[in-house]
Subunit: 290 residues, 2 copies
């Protein structure tokens, strides 16, 4: 069987977005523009109204709507981790047989196993992580252009079929992500702990370190760059941190070790160690700009 993008995610695919926030809304916006039938279930009536008014969805409901769930070939969950698990547990009897479910959650280990473990045999859950975001939440901040410079990661387990992996990859391609890759849940969570969660911890801590209100008169680009992500959705991120606790703690400790090495070389006037670290960081960071 040839796997062809058109075939895999044909224009007759009915797509349901559960959770019409900034990311769910951006998915809807992109998919609707491309001619798919896109529906949404979300808890705020306002968000449904907004999505309909802006032409981001064809239909929407602010309670679980049997008709919308039953017709969907592809269901995208854009919910907080615990809500995703509860939603699927409570409503999985409604899915169409053969439906593919995917998500946008920032951690995987704590979700994928639970969901795949409890799911009906004739429905498949394939995890994915769109590494795109904004410092704002809510459907009003939807913007499908954020995908164009972003990475999309398909996160399959041994339980996933080739078909579902290809559908999930085709979804990332359709949304226009710059780069699509495949990682195991374990590797994904390790990588996210370092690249995304640790950086958010640093930004939050840095912003909490100094309470002098006059500093904003003197900030340069570097401080602004390092703290941009200190504007953070505390409910979502604290849940994501806890869902990846061990891996994040281990990255935080590695970072403090390295930072302390630099600190001690400064205290000891050990210029050579400082400069060695700076040359290493310069070399590694230069690789990113190639």
């Amino acid at each position: 069987m040839t796997l062809d993008k058109k075939y895999i995610l044909g224009k007759d695919t009915k797509i349901l977005i559960v959770g019409l926030g900034m990311i769910g809304g951006s998915y809807a916006m992109s998919l609707k523009k491309q001619g798919y039938r896109v529906t949404a279930i979300t808890k705020e009536a306002d968000s449904v109204v907004y999505g309909l008014e802006k032409g981001m969805i064809d239909e929407g409901a602010f309670r679980v709507d049997e008709g919308l769930v039953k017709e969907a070939d592809l269901v995208v969950f854009a919910l907080y981790p615990h809500t995703l698990i509860e939603w699927i547990r409570d409503n999985q009897h409604l899915f169409k047989s053969g439906a593919v479910l995917t998500d946008v959650t920032g951690v995987k280990g704590s979700i994928v196993e639970t969901v795949q473990g409890m799911l009906r045999e004739d429905v498949e859950f394939i995890a994915a992580h769109p590494m795109a975001g904004k410092e704002r939440s809510g459907v009003r901040y939807s913007d499908d252009s954020i995908f164009r410079v972003a990475n999309y990661i398909v996160v399959p387990t041994g339980k996933n079929t080739e078909r579902a992996i290809e559908i999930c990859r085709a979804l990332g391609e359709t949304l226009g992500f710059a780069n699509i890759s495949v990682l195991s849940p374990e590797k994904h969570d390790e990588m996210i702990a370092f690249l995304s969660q640790l950086t958010h911890c640093i930004a939050v801590a840095l912003m909490c370190t100094n309470d002098d209100p006059t500093i904003k008169n003197y900030t340069g680009d570097s401080f602004r760059d390092l703290t941009r992500i200190a504007r953070i959705n505390d409910e979502m991120w604290s849940e994501l941190f806890l869902a990846n606790r061990e891996k994040l703690l281990s990255q935080m400790d590695l970072f403090v070790d390295t930072f302390t090495k630099l600190r001690n070389s400064l205290e000891n006037g050990d210029s050579e160690t400082m400069r060695e670290m700076m040359r290493l960081s310069t070399k590694r960071r230069s690789e990113f700009d190639k």
Copy 2:
């Protein structure tokens, strides 16, 4: 006496730049465009040739040139801290009586007192810090547009006259800085330790924490933002760190304390403390975007 920008830094002011690197070159570029006579003394013959070819300077020398020093009304030192002190010690007999000297150095406490303490009575040193930069060094990266979004800080001591402070401020205005302010050396160095040096330490340490070469395939905006300044001139920054050692160590320790508080709240599953810190960081960071 009315202090008027035109009067203070009249177009007949002869300006000498000592150290024609990225910052010195950007000063020269801007001032030359505005019609000043701009000369340069720098150690690389190449840089002089480049400055002349690009029309950034009227004359230049790669050794101390008596004529150029003697004619200068305003001398801008764009050198590393220890070189600045040595240069002034060795050549101060050449300055024109009444000349004003200023600098661009990123730390002040370790320099200003030394320079003012040894300087001839008829010449005045007024410290300044243009908070603008790039991740590249050398005259070829000169770019006077970097000043337009940047802060310029005049850093006077009790020894400085009102006239020199006004000349220094007028220089910042002429260069087109977005914001000009005045701080004591003590306050300046504290602020710089937190806003600039600590952020560079974090970026360097973060980049040195993980040696997995595949991570660059998955980096998002946040990691790239936090490590942009990890491309660093190791010679200059290690000297600047050492020149501000006590203040930087104290900011590094404060940061690690705050980071550890976040770390421990994660380990203890103390979601409320994590969220409190996130709300504080969000509130403070939002102030910057106003």
